[in-house]
């Protein structure tokens, strides 16, 4: 078993479609998909992000970080939310992504999430992180 993150990427167009979709309808569509993931025993976590217009961008290209309000402007593919699923293979992660009730124009990126057991276990910072994960029940 391995953890994969399905990273949702919106565009201005898909975001506009999402905003014009009745909220109840969206909740039902997404809820049905989430229920499928839960029933299959693969869902670990899922979160969606707030309006990118309310976000802040910190740019590290200069000597000091430069902070600007508003959406991340360099690309139209804005990060909108994620699913974290525990599945047998990359192909299974892809298959779940295909079934996602995604809005036309949006994209999902699928990336494996390495477990902490893949890091050197005797490194003091990994030991500390492990302790923190235990205390807080993090994955």
């Amino acid at each position: 078993m391995a953890k994969y993150m399905l990273i949702m990427r919106n565009t201005d167009e898909s975001l506009a479609t999402m905003m014009s979709t009745p909220f109840d309808q969206m909740l039902e569509t997404v809820g049905r998909f989430n229920e499928e993931l839960i029933k299959a025993g693969v869902l670990v976590a899922a979160e969606g992000l707030d309006d990118p217009g309310q976000g802040v961008v910190v740019d590290y290209s200069g000597e000091k970080p430069v902070v600007t309000d508003g959406p991340y402007g360099e690309t139209k593919e804005l990060f909108g939310g994620f699913y974290l699923i525990d599945v047998a293979s990359k192909e299974e992660a892809v298959e779940w992504a295909k079934r996602m009730p995604a809005i036309p124009g949006s994209k999902a990126e699928i990336r494996r999430v390495p477990g902490i057991e893949e890091f050197p276990q005797d490194n003091e910072w990994i030991v500390k992180e492990r302790a923190w994960r235990e205390r807080t029940g993090q994955l």
């Binding site: 078993m1 025993g41 670990v44 192909e91 298959e95 295909k98 302790a131 029940g137």
Partner: protein, 445 residues
């Protein structure tokens, strides 16, 4: 479903394309095989036929998807192909029956079997009836774990028909030859057909008992996967996780059954210790010596949550729930000494009443020794020894040897540990016992 125009990838001759297609088929199969087989079984009313045609559809997908690309609706494709094969089979049967009819035999049956199956094949049909598919999957689980089947047949059929594993995967997991698994599954399907077992949920009065049978099959799969002392460790762990996946499916289908949550909790809490239970050279590490930091804490959290759901049903915990509650005591304890042994004693007492067994009594004796001291535990072990119910097992002399050691009765302890080593069938465990016995001799010198 966001399926774009490029949903069909162009035909490709390179082997990586075939490999990619195989992996794509396997991914769909893993997610949906139970629903596909369940829907086909309800459609045909014939579990054996449904499983056969589902396997035919899978085999066709492996060839066809590599050649033509993955279809836009993979599940619909598999189900439609399975249905077509089922119709072919019924046509063959009715043709045969008509021949028999011409001979003047079995006229009525032949007519009935050909008339009932012609389906309305419509392109816009959903792959299955959403109101029925959950019951179909449940019926599938119950039929695969049916009491007319031998225990090893139930295990093989459940992994195949519900879990979607291939004969090769099952054979690898159980360290048996592939033909053995194939024969076991074929025979199991024929037994179901011969016994006339209908494809339906068991009647209410049998439901509880039949559910117990299902849970024990899942638990056998789990324990087979969690005994890492033989075979390929990783593969067998996969088998344990397969059992957990099936238990999660069952818990979602039967949310009001406390023992389903109990079993899921027991499996999650046991699996949480997997990362810590073997040393660098693969030798077993006892619970008391495990580095608890290595336990899988998200599995512990899931296990505790499942146990909570089992308790919340308000019908009391059954044997699986009680074992999960004991595992939970260990899971939340920072060390052996800081474990709530009084609670574990109570839980073993309860377990001994709902599921009496000498092994449970022996475990209770160990817990009593931890809670009240070694003498109290030894008294219980001696009572158990008198009954002779564990004679021939290395477990009783192992525990007796440990308790005598703690009481400082080293000569008796050594005799017990040496007896335990002689009775123990597992080489690694035997080595540990002999080492302990030898350490006692050294102490005395």
């Amino acid at each position: 479903m966001p399926q774009s125009a490029d949903g069909r990838s162009p035909a490709t001759a390179d082997p990586s394309g075939a490999e990619a297609a195989r992996r794509a088929v396997e991914a769909v199969w893993r997610i949906d095989s139970a629903r596909i087989v369940g829907a086909l079984a309800r459609y045909t009313g014939d579990f054996e036929l449904a499983e056969d045609v589902a396997q035919e559809a899978l085999a066709e997908a492996l060839v066809g998807w590599a050649r033509d690309g993955e279809p836009a609706n993979p599940v619909g494709w598999l189900l439609a192909t399975g249905r077509r094969r089922a119709i072919d089979a019924f046509r063959r049967r009715s043709a045969r029956d008509e021949r028999y009819a011409l001979l003047g035999r079995r006229l009525a049956e032949g007519g009935a079997s050909s008339g009932a199956v012609e389906p309305p094949e419509r392109a816009d049909e959903p792959p299955w009836d959403p109101d029925r598919v959950e019951d179909d999957v449940l019926a599938l689980i119950f039929i695969a774990c049916h009491p007319v089947l031998a225990p090893e047949a139930r295990v093989a059929l459940t992994l195949r028909a519900v879990g979607g594993l291939s004969s090769e995967e099952i054979a690898r997991a159980f360290l048996v030859p592939v033909p053995t698994v194939q024969a076991r599954i074929t025979r199991a399907k024929k037994t179901i057909a011969a016994a006339g077992v209908p494809f339906e949920l068991p009647p209410a009065e049998e439901r509880r008992e039949r559910l117990g049978g299902v849970l024990s099959v899942l638990y056998v799969i789990f324990t087979e996967g969690s005994t890492a002392t033989s075979g390929d460790v990783l593969l067998r762990t996969d088998l344990a996780y397969e059992a957990i996946r099936l238990a999660r499916m069952l818990a979602a289908l039967l949310p009001d059954e406390p023992e389903v949550h109990g079993l899921l909790a027991l499996c999650e809490l046991t699996a949480a210790r997997f990362p810590a239970r073997t040393g660098p050279d693969g030798e077993p590490v006892l619970l008391e010596d495990q580095d608890r930091r290595r336990w899988d804490h998200s599995a512990i959290r899931r296990g505790l949550a499942a146990l909570g759901r089992g308790s919340a049903a308000g019908r009391g915990l059954g044997p699986y729930g009680l074992q999960a509650a004991i595992a939970a005591c260990h899971a939340v304890a920072p060390s052996v000494t800081e474990t709530d042994w009084d609670r574990i004693v109570l839980l073993y007492e309860a377990l001994g009443r709902v599921a009496p067994s000498p092994v449970v009594e022996l475990n209770r004796a160990v817990a009593v020794a931890m809670a009240q001291g070694p003498q109290a535990g030894l008294d219980l072990v001696d009572d158990l020894a008198v009954t002779g119910r564990l004679s021939g097992s290395h477990l009783l002399p192992t525990v007796r040897g440990e308790l005598l050691t703690r009481l400082g009765r080293t000569t008796e302890a050594r005799t017990e540990l040496e007896l335990a080593a002689r009775l123990c069938g597992n080489a690694r465990e035997r080595a540990v016992l002999l080492r302990k016995a030898a350490a006692l001799s050294a102490d005395r010198r």
